[in-house]
């Protein structure tokens, strides 16, 4: 094996191949296919926000992120996209279509690019070198080297793990193999070279849809965004907390856990040395957000169980603690007043199969995407004098039908022996 390796290294490499595999060469070859995407207010000379994009055909079709052009979707009368090519020319562009779930958008610039990226399904190996191009912080077109670490497993929204540094402004830029095959679109980062790409198959799907003969650009892309969110959640919320959901026992309580593969779950039991009670927590969340606008992230599902118990406190003092825990609910997602209403709540004592559950259901509506809600369900098990369960389910950006169906299933899966 070692012998073979040495041989491979010593083999003469054709000059052209060597040339094309260096990062510098890749930059020289592909820079003209990458653009800067600017969002500006009508009539304003200065840009309001900035991202990157790349040509995918010879007629000026461009791919970028949904979150780069979100303002155009939300307020088309106020904002418009424009594109700056490698030569520095500013081109007028039109937003053709979006895929809000996978954070993609397609634009058409009235310009014929000298070259473009051909899209095809690529399956690199883990560890393959990947180059990301874009305009970080408007500092000019840059290229970053990183490593392909495969499709993330168990995520609500498919993403490729790219070990490389992505910065604001490179969003929407292409991530390519050194030979120019596109593997994904720069989309987000968690810092420390943990970054994410939208898989190229999603890009192909959107481009195919938008370039199809019968494609008609929707009058309102915002309505289109809402229906995409609805369609996607109809799939992923389907079957959540059905009777086959795994059940975990905490104290005397049987509660649902990891309702789908794309949930990540954590559990912890803690007892501070001086505190007269014990707390066991269990959390499952999708840990994955959909970008809607600067003022709103959504699309997350969270589930928390907390069991409190005591040997030392009398029942009145224990219930003070219990009540405080139950009453201190907070929404899982933040959103600004321009995006959502205030929460409204209702509280009831739910009786199911001889057990009683104090249950509060709170909801707020989306202002710009009517028919979508954030829903918080909180419940506290009643009956035990020195033990209690506070459980909470958070659904964001869901339809009312999905919310009530999942809530119903969720509450039906909670049980305990008196």
């Amino acid at each position: 094996m070692a012998h073979l390796l040495v041989c491979a290294l010593l083999l003469p490499v054709p000059l052209a191949a060597q040339e094309s595999s260096t990062t510098a060469a890749a930059f020289r070859r592909f820079a003209e296919r990458v653009v800067k995407v600017e969002i500006a207010e009508h009539g304003a000379a200065a840009k309001a926000s900035l991202g990157s994009g790349f040509f995918v055909d010879g007629e000026g079709l461009l791919v970028t992120n949904y979150h780069v052009v979100a303002e155009v979707v939300r307020e088309p009368g106020r904002y418009a996209p424009r594109v700056v090519n490698a030569a520095g020319d500013t081109l007028v562009a039109e937003l053709l279509g979006i895929d809000v779930v996978h954070d993609l958008a397609v634009l058409r610039a009235g310009w014929t690019p000298p070259s473009w990226f051909e899209l095809s399904n690529v399956e690199p190996d883990q560890g393959d070198r990947v180059l990301s191009l874009g305009h970080p912080r408007d500092l000019g077109l840059s290229i970053v080297e990183g490593t392909w670490n495969g499709l993330l497993r168990h995520t609500l929204y498919p993403k490729i793990h790219f070990s490389g540094s992505l910065n604001p402004g490179v969003s929407g830029g292409p991530a390519i193999l050194p030979d120019g095959r596109v593997v994904g679109v720069n989309v987000s980062t968690e810092g420390n070279e943990i970054s994410f790409l939208v898989p190229v198959d999603r890009v192909i799907a959107l481009v195919d849809r938008v370039t199809a003969q019968d494609y008609v650009r929707p009058d309102s892309l915002l309505t289109e965004a809402a229906s995409q969110i609805r369609a996607y959640q109809d799939v992923y919320l389907n079957g959540l907390f059905e009777p086959d959901v795994p059940i975990v026992t905490i104290g005397r309580y049987q509660v649902p856990t990891r309702p789908a593969a794309w949930f990540k779950c954590w559990g912890d039991a803690s007892r501070e040395p001086d505190e007269p009670y014990e707390r066991v927590t269990h959390y499952c969340g999708t840990d994955d957000y959909l970008y809607l606008s600067e003022g709103q992230w959504t699309g997350v599902v969270e589930l928390t169980h907390e069991v409190l118990s005591t040997d030392e406190l009398n029942r009145f003092r224990f219930y003070t603690l219990y009540e405080t825990n139950f009453a201190n609910g907070a929404p899982a997602t933040w959103a600004s007043e321009s995006e959502v209403t205030e929460f409204r709540c209702t509280t009831r004592n739910l009786e199911r199969e001889g057990t009683r559950l104090r249950t509060a259901i709170c909801a707020r509506g989306f202002r710009k995407l009517p028919g979508l809600y954030d829903v918080v369900v909180r419940a506290a098990a009643l009956g035990a004098p020195r033990e209690g369960l506070v459980t909470s389910l958070q659904l964001s950006g869901v339809t009312w039908e999905n919310a009530t169906r999942v809530t119903r299933n969720f509450l039906e899966r909670i049980s305990w022996s008196e």
């Binding site: 409204r344 709540c345 739910l350």
Partner: protein
């Protein structure tokens, strides 16, 4: 006919602190012990003034060559000699005297405080301090039930002391007003009113919380809470005002009621919320109780989901309302 006149020594609040009935004239006024009216005032001469009965029946006040003279109590003008008008007030040295004829009119009697007027009953210090003590006890027990941390004892002590200090400050302000209007601070009574209000409020709050636990979702509780709070605050303000002696009985009731209603409205309605920023938080009946779960009103899952439907209607109309500027 016997002529009679009363000489009254007035205190700072214009109340008679000593009263001498004179029927033999001439009568003398001064610091020496042979006088008919004795004044304990370093600025008054041993014999300072006298009252003389004239043939026509008038009584005349005369200065008998005193060092500081007699002065009109209001204007400060010196008086050498002047016929006495019933009710006239003069100053000798630092002492104000009122000269009153027997036929001088007096105002009608004030109505005696009715039995049950809490505030006036609290003027008895023993009762007042008992109320404060009871309040302390309720706060202590409530605090004990309400604290579960490792440091609960010190938390409780700090909490009670802080609450008492705040209440004392509040009572002190009212006592200051009382001192101005009636001359009596009645701090203990004001303190008892404040502590008592807090005590009743916390007990009522606990009872209401229990009701909310038993029958959640009833809009009756908000109404009841509003009425109870307004009533309690009215009693509190009325008690404080009664103790200060300010305003007439009717004005007192009206003022107390109006202030209490205003305050309750501010607490209960969304006035403050509306002024504040967008909250974005959850506001639900988080009440739990270790007792009574078996008798609490319950719903089925279907009924729960139906109740949630009202929430949807609510937020849908909020979304249509748009955003406040």
């Amino acid at each position: 006919m016997e002529r009679v006149i009363f000489v009254e020594v007035l205190d700072r609040r214009h109340q008679a602190s000593a009263r001498t009935r004179l029927s033999a004239f001439p009568a003398t006024i001064g610091r020496a012990y042979e006088n008919d009216v004795l004044l304990d005032d370093r600025y008054v001469d041993p014999v300072h003034a006298r009252l003389v009965l004239r043939d026509d029946g008038t009584i005349v006040l005369e200065d008998v060559g005193s060092r500081n003279g007699i002065r009109d109590a209001v204007t400060g003008d010196p008086i050498g000699s002047a016929p006495v008008r019933s009710g006239m007030v003069v100053r000798l040295g630092e002492t104000r005297l009122r000269l009153v004829e027997p036929g001088h009119p007096v105002p009608a009697a004030l109505r005696e405080p009715r039995v049950g007027n809490l505030a006036l009953a609290l003027r008895r210090p023993r009762l007042a301090w008992s109320v404060v003590l009871a309040g302390l006890l309720v706060m202590g027990v409530g605090g004990w039930l309400g604290s579960v941390g490792a440091e609960w004892a010190s938390d409780l002590a700090v909490g009670v002391v802080a609450a008492m200090l705040l209440l004392a400050l509040w009572a002190g302000a009212w006592a200051f007003a009382s001192r101005i209007f009636t001359g009596h601070a009645r701090f203990a009574a004001h303190f008892a009113v404040a502590v008592g209000t807090l005590m009743v409020m916390s007990v009522a709050g606990a009872v209401m919380g229990f009701f909310r636990f038993l029958w959640p979702g009833a809009s009756l509780w908000s109404l009841l809470g509003f009425v109870a709070t307004a009533a309690l605050l009215t009693v509190m303000f009325h008690s404080h005002l009664s103790l200060t002696g300010a305003l007439g009985a009717r004005a007192r009731r009206l003022t107390a009621g109006a202030v209490a209603l205003l305050l309750t409205a501010v607490i209960y309605t969304d006035v403050l919320d509306d002024l504040g920023d967008f909250g974005g938080g959850l506001d639900y009946d988080g009440n739990l109780s270790p007792v009574g779960a078996s008798v609490a009103a319950t719903v089925s899952l279907d009924e729960l989901i139906e109740a949630a439907g009202e929430v949807r209607v609510d937020v849908d109309s909020l979304a249509l309302e748009g955003i406040r500027d």
